[in-house]
Symmetry: C2
Subunit: 172 residues, 2 copies
């Protein structure tokens, strides 16, 4: 798939076939993720690849916007390892770039995916703590985003979000 087309036709996909995604494809997704830029090239990302049926089924209980995990065969938890960072203020941005690469790569590979937010929602509903316990994350490894993936069983319509009012020349 051509790059600009892939970026522009990517939509959040929340319904999937029961078909599993093979390891070779998962590796491509993670290789795309790790190709993201990061501040001082610190590469703070870590990835928990969740395929275990019981684990996927249990996620909606503590992450209310990830209900589709119970009907998916794959989820990837993108975490930031905040221990020993070179540029501590930037791990969220670094890991977000890696997450976006996963979404674009997934779309190009014929998969559907959705980015469900985790960090910093803990105070409200315990999402961060939920994933920390569920995936046995060590202290200092923070779950940022949970991407749910599958072969798409829905085709969201194209959407043009281009808005010229969001563009400013030189100054606001």
């Amino acid at each position: 798939m051509e790059v600009l087309e892939a970026i522009q036709t990517r939509r959040s996909v929340r319904k999937y076939e029961k078909r599993e995604i093979n390891d070779e494809i998962v590796k491509k997704l993670l290789s795309a993720a790790m190709s993201a830029p990061s501040a001082a090239n610190q590469q703070p990302w870590e990835f928990i690849v969740i395929k275990d049926r019981d684990m996927l089924d249990a996620i909606p209980a503590f992450s209310p916007f990830a209900k589709m995990a119970a009907h998916a065969t794959l989820g990837i938890l993108i975490c930031g390892d905040t221990r020993n960072l070179i540029a501590p203020g930037f791990w969220v941005q670094d890991c977000s770039a890696a997450t976006q690469n996963i979404l674009i790569a997934a779309h190009a590979l014929g998969l559907g995916a959705v980015w469900t937010g985790v960090y910093p929602m803990d105070l409200m509903d315990g999402r961060v703590t939920g994933f920390v316990k569920h995936c046995q994350l060590p202290e200092g490894v923070v779950p940022l985003a949970f991407v749910v993936l599958g072969y798409p069983a829905e085709t969201p319509s194209k959407q043009n979000r281009f808005n010229p009012y969001k563009i400013h020349a030189n100054v606001w």
Copy 2:
């Protein structure tokens, strides 16, 4: 360019030809940016397209890692409008996804680009305040990242950042 190749061969480019980037291409970059997903589809991004020579030349004085701006013909300041957000905790992630889309689209279009970090570096060196004043941003509009772009005058070598030790099955 094919998507996975584009994602994997993209590198930070910091040296550019003097040639200008035309408005049609800038529009493609910004259209890619605005195609990013965002929490609750809040689309918090705003873009300051900086082509003014004096403005570009003045940026390194307050943003030390953006020295290449003085030798570039284009910079895009990606900002988050934090006024009236639906999901306030997520604007950094939303705008980071938009920024990453710009980098991939630029590479696919034959441009070189580099993401220079802005937010949250204000306490250390005044980067945030510097861009706020320079681009006359209203209160609540926060400069997140400054991308410098141009036709590449250097070709950074390919780099494979794939690291299997960053992948965990189901639990850490």
